[in-house]
């Protein structure tokens, strides 16, 4: 793959890798025995390995391919492999922490394996590791195909992909070592956050520069979603992570936001992480891979535009519904609640648009498990956005908040929507990228589909039950006006649901393993498909448009 870089690009890659390794060395020296020092060693090692890989093919012959006539797919392929590896890691950690809730002895009396340290490795592993790599890979694919132009860089896509994975490694290893900012979905400390800003701004510039080279006059709507995802995540990440380190040699930092402002900024970030990381980017996948797989144009392009602007502008204000009945001003809570309810309109517009696109192709949904993945994802998207709007209503929230209902809702979205649309997209993308006729085994795609659906349904039903029981037990009073149940009473009542939840998660993990095997065998074993003449960008000499 590195042989596809010209020698000057190899030089640039080497300079970048050595710079990262040196930065790691500085961190290691400044941090000494602190976690910052250990992270410095990890960064130095990461930079060193990349530098070594670049060196290994440094004097290889210059690439012969005609760049103007081909898309740049190497980073996409690596991104898919990394996404699946993170999926297995993140989902395994999820099953482990779920099992710990049922059987606390599974923490094995070690500090690093306590629930509080393992849980963020699960959330970071699945959201950023799996979701993030899948988003980077598919966005690189979609922007090239819909723009009919090659990526606007040869080294920068690698910088974005590998740099993002370095961030994930720093985050996850930091949690195990006991480092956290105590901010949901933003636990990584200041130095990792600064690194992510550099990587993410490069990602945005690369994406916009690629769009600027487009041969197709109109920017297809999937790119709008991907651009909103990249741009808004950059803003959210920077504002929420404004913090002052205790010293340059320590991993620990303190946020600049005080008290209730910190809570508001955190949940403005937290809910928009759901909106722009876990929704906008994946809607970009939906609007591209679903029509392509179904071989039908999207039902209404106008509706996709209306729902795009609805989603981007409504979500911005919805975060305060996480802070009902707190010190946050009442009108801000009401604002968040109102926007959350309004969000149902653009959300269902997207879900309905996807399902109506399939109208007339239901026989394909029946026969093709890949398309069924995307159909089920649209259904779960509709269900979980309805549930979310409902739970954001203040009196409903008084029952659901702090209970497992919230956890069930998040997983209806994360497993049912985000993961299913990702698997559907990857099963569409992998054969096309590796120039194969089809996936290695259709039966294994089918198996994966049913494992994923069964796992999601078991998980979500277990959490609905346990959440509503918890909520009701916490608000049941005796005739004397005292609470009828202690917290431990409610915990005992959760036991069977926690076992069911861990089992549902296990099924989902098994499905992901089946998917890994199938993708691996597709890459390794399946016969090459006939050449795809049309799958190339429009060369500059051609007249744009029809």
């Amino acid at each position: 793959m590195l042989a596809n870089l010209t020698s000057s690009e190899r030089q640039n890659a080497l300079v970048l890798a050595v710079a990262v390794a040196l930065a790691g060395a500085v961190m290691a020296i400044a941090g000494r025995a602190d976690v910052l020092g250990i992270h410095g060693l990890i960064v130095a090692l990461f930079g060193g390995v990349v530098a070594w890989l670049v060196m290994a093919s440094f004097y290889a012959p210059e690439p012969a391919e005609d760049r103007a006539a081909s898309y740049y797919d190497d980073p996409i392929k690596v991104g898919i492999v990394l996404a699946m590896a993170w999926a297995v890691f993140g989902m395994f950690m999820g099953v482990w922490v779920a099992a710990q809730l049922a059987w606390p002895n599974l923490a094995f009396d070690a500090a690093w394996s306590t629930f509080g340290r393992l849980r963020p490795t699960h959330t970071t592993g699945v959201i950023f590791g799996f979701g993030g790599n899948a988003l980077i890979a598919t966005s690189f694919h979609v922007v090239q195909r819909t723009s009919r132009a090659r990526l606007a860089g040869q080294v920068s896509p690698w910088f974005v992909l590998l740099g993002f994975n370095l961030f994930c490694v720093l985050a996850v290893s930091g949690y195990l070592l006991g480092v956290t900012q105590s901010k949901e979905y933003a636990e990584a400390e200041w130095y990792a956050d600064i690194w992510l800003v550099i990587v993410w701004v490069t990602y945005f510039i690369l994406y916009v520069a690629t769009i600027a080279r487009r041969k197709e006059p109109h920017i297809y709507v999937a790119n709008w979603y991907f651009m909103a995802f990249i741009l808004v995540v950059a803003i959210l990440h920077i504002v929420n992570n404004l913090a002052l380190p205790v010293s340059w040699g320590l991993a620990k930092s303190y946020t600049i936001w005080p008290g209730v402002q910190d809570a508001m900024v955190q949940w403005w970030y937290g809910h928009n992480a759901v909106a722009f990381f876990l929704t906008a980017g994946f809607l970009g996948m939906l609007y591209y891979y679903l029509p392509v797989r179904a071989q039908r144009p999207i039902f209404s392009y106008r509706l996709s535009i209306l729902s795009f602007w609805g989603i981007t502008f409504f979500y911005m204000w919805a975060g305060s519904h996480h802070l009902h009945y707190t010190a946050l001003p009442h009108w801000v809570q009401t604002l968040g609640m109102t926007f959350s309810v309004m969000l149902l309109v653009p959300s269902w517009a997207s879900a309905g648009n996807a399902l109506l696109t399939l109208n007339g192709a239901w026989h394909r949904v029946r026969d093709d498990a890949t398309l069924r993945f995307m159909m089920a994802a649209a259904v779960f998207y509709g269900l979980s956005t309805f549930e979310g709007s409902f739970m954001a209503i203040r009196p409903v929230n008084s029952l659901s908040h702090y209970t497992d209902w919230t956890v069930g809702h998040v997983h209806a979205g994360a497993l049912g929507w985000v993961a299913l649309i990702t698997f559907g997209s990857l099963y569409t993308l992998v054969p096309s990228l590796w120039k194969r006729e089809r996936m290695y085994s259709a039966a294994l795609v089918e198996l994966h589909f049913w494992l994923a659906i069964a796992g999601t349904v078991i998980y979500v039903f277990a959490m609905w039950n346990s959440g509503i029981i918890q909520g009701l037990m916490w608000r049941t009073y005796t005739e004397e006006g005292a609470l009828a149940y202690s917290f431990v009473d409610s915990l005992v009542a959760m036991y069977p649901y926690y076992i069911a939840r861990a089992f549902g998660g296990l099924l989902f993990l098994l499905g992901a393993l089946v998917g890994c095997y199938n993708i691996w065998m597709t890459v390794r074993a399946a016969p090459a498909a006939a050449t795809r003449g049309a799958d190339a960008p429009v060369v500059p000499a051609a007249v744009p448009g029809e």
Partner: protein, 57 residues
């Protein structure tokens, strides 16, 4: 200018509404502008005209 809590509330409750309304009208105008119809129709069909056809059983 005194940038107090009350100022923020006043801005949110007045201009917040108006700019959202204006934005909504702008988006609707863009989406339903008759001249954009051909552009949108082309966009939604153009992603399909590749050889990446799904596998048909």
């Amino acid at each position: 200018m005194d940038f107090s809590h009350d100022t923020l509330v006043a801005i949110s409750k007045s201009w917040g509404l108006f700019y959202m309304m204006a934005f909504f009208l702008g988006v609707c105008a863009y989406a339903f502008w008759p001249r954009n119809r051909t552009r949108f129709d082309r966009a939604k069909h153009s992603i399909l005209d590749r050889d990446d056809t799904p596998w048909q059983r």
